[in-house]
């Protein structure tokens, strides 16, 4: 398989509070033969606070990074963070459609952005560029106890005209990837319901209530684990789970894993390597039963052998 190369934008929180997402992304993409070149001297994308000030300003903050990608001679930028992705895509799209806007934004930058960069999520490139088959090929470990509800969060594929990826009402990228690595996926109705977004610090109760709905629906769907692709969702659902229980009077104890962590486990990486030990809600009880795929296959073969005698009896009767 030819080695794929991508310019990588981790995003501010993946360096700190969401470091396990970055760890697991790097491990999994490495295993899949993808070379990541971290964008040199990248700056924060601006996220919600920037676009609450002015759209030209927000686009400039984001486009500084796009201009750096162009400087490196590349035309694709991948990021695990949906908010960063949204900032890049919105800046790029508006600058492409509206030349006056492009001028205004570039006047704020020291190096103008020419419009030649496509931003994508890590989830998208794994699902589309690398593909289910290649992802499935590397699986070595079974995780028989995991029953996941894939939670995409509200902006990784919405609005569809901007994000250009997967279905806006019923996305399936993570579902298919989890199935491909042998994990049981539950039919989960709240795939894109907002968890509370960036209001965790300022409006804790609101975020707790919204996140609680997601957790409750996951349990309804028969899941014992939530799988996410956004670190802000992860924080609201995992780090704040005790807060949720206090606010709502519930007793959730649902581990939340990044999809790259789940894939990483099936590839044979240890929970420590993938940062699973850094989570708040303990996922160990669900993953401790992991074992090599060969073991399961052997067991199944033995079971099949044990059943064989029956056909002989029928033959005997006939003769």
């Amino acid at each position: 398989m030819a080695e794929k190369e991508y310019v990588y934008f981790p995003g501010c929180s993946l360096e700190a509070s969401a470091i396990e997402y970055d760890l697991s992304v790097r491990k999994v993409l490495g295993a899949l033969g993808v070379k990541l070149i971290e964008l040199d001297d990248w700056s924060c994308c601006g996220s919600t606070p920037a676009h609450s000030v002015d759209h030209g300003f927000a686009a400039a903050v984001a486009a500084r990074n796009l201009a750096l990608v162009e400087k490196m001679g590349h035309s694709t930028l991948i990021t695990p963070c949906p908010a960063c992705l949204s900032a890049f895509k919105k800046a790029h799209l508006r600058m492409e459609k509206d030349k006056d806007f492009q001028k205004e934004v570039n006047s704020l930058l020291d190096e103008p952005y020419q419009g030649g960069v496509t931003a994508k999520s890590v989830l998208q490139i794994i699902y589309e560029d690398i593909g289910i088959k290649a992802v499935a090929e590397k699986v070595k470990i079974d995780l028989p106890d995991l029953q996941v509800a894939p939670y995409y969060g509200c902006i990784i594929n919405r609005p569809p005209a901007v994000m250009e990826f997967d279905d806006p009402e019923n996305p399936v990228a993570m579902d298919r990837l989890m199935e491909a690595v042998g994990i049981k996926v539950c039919d989960f109705a709240f795939k894109v319901e907002c968890c509370g977004a960036a209001f965790g610090v300022t409006k804790r109760k609101m975020v707790n209530e919204l996140s609680a709905k997601v957790l409750a629906m996951a349990l309804e769907a028969g899941a014992n684990c939530l799988v996410v692709t956004c670190q802000l969702c992860h924080q609201n659902l995992d780090l704040r789970q005790e807060q949720i229980n206090r606010t709502m009077g519930t007793s959730f104890n649902l581990p939340v894993l990044f999809f790259t962590q789940v894939i990483g486990l099936t590839y044979g990486f240890s929970p420590q390597e993938l940062g699973i030990d850094k989570h708040n809600i303990n996922a160990e009880p669900l993953i401790k039963s992991r074992r090599p795929v060969e073991e399961r296959i052997k067991e199944e073969e033995e079971k099949a052998k044990a059943k064989k005698p029956k056909p002989k009896k029928a033959e005997e009767e006939e003769s």
Binding site: C12, F199, T202
Partner: protein, 188 residues
């Protein structure tokens, strides 16, 4: 809601201003309520989002800019994704919030303080210094113990840095802020 004299109290200029800044046409809205029906934040808004659109259609500038709704919108894009008239409602909410900030209407002070703390970090370091933001927010908002319970959970896991990240190009990022401020002042 108070009775409104539409002849005297429709702010036509405001409607045009929002149209221009957002690129969206509020006349396309036939008030079906789909946005409100799907909005996860309806419970917390003082005006549900379709009413914000209605207030915009009737030019009720003060009511909109004083509302809490525009500060509590999370830009989750549910309304935009499902609007049958293809209006980018989330974008309009954003524009209303931008106008509110510009004209100094802040119904949700904590939200603005948090955003300002975030932007301050961005301006000084080029990237987000999470601990700095939280501390800045706690201090300025007077809620000194916000998320204090989360500290012990992430301490010792390498998830907190006590020193801010500093990129080489942080002056270039600060330049963006400076140039933007200049432009805004010159526009008046």
């Amino acid at each position: 809601m108070e009775p409104i004299n539409l002849t005297q109290n429709t702010d036509w200029e405001f409607i045009e201003q929002v149209k221009k800044e957002s690129g969206e046409n509020p006349s396309l809205c036939y008030q079906c309520g789909n946005c409100t029906a799907g909005c996860p934040y309806t419970k917390y808004f003082d005006f549900p989002v379709n009413q914000i659109m209605r207030l915009l259609q009737t030019g009720q500038k003060e009511t909109i800019l004083r509302s809490r709704s525009i500060w509590l919108c999370a830009t989750c894009e549910t309304c935009t994704t499902r609007c049958p008239c293809q209006i980018d409602i989330a974008h309009i909410m954003d524009v209303l919030r931008i106008i509110a900030r510009r004209e100094n209407y802040v119904a949700e002070k904590e939200v603005k303080i948090f955003y300002d703390a975030f932007l301050s970090s961005l301006k000084h370091h080029g990237r987000i210094f999470e601990v700095g933001i939280l501390m800045g927010y706690n201090f300025r908002s007077g809620h000194l113990f916000t998320d204090a319970d989360l500290g012990p959970k992430i301490l010792g896991k390498g998830k907190i840095h006590f020193l801010p990240p500093r990129i080489q190009g942080r002056d270039k990022v600060a330049e963006i802020f400076r140039k933007f401020e200049e432009k805004r002042k010159s526009r008046g």
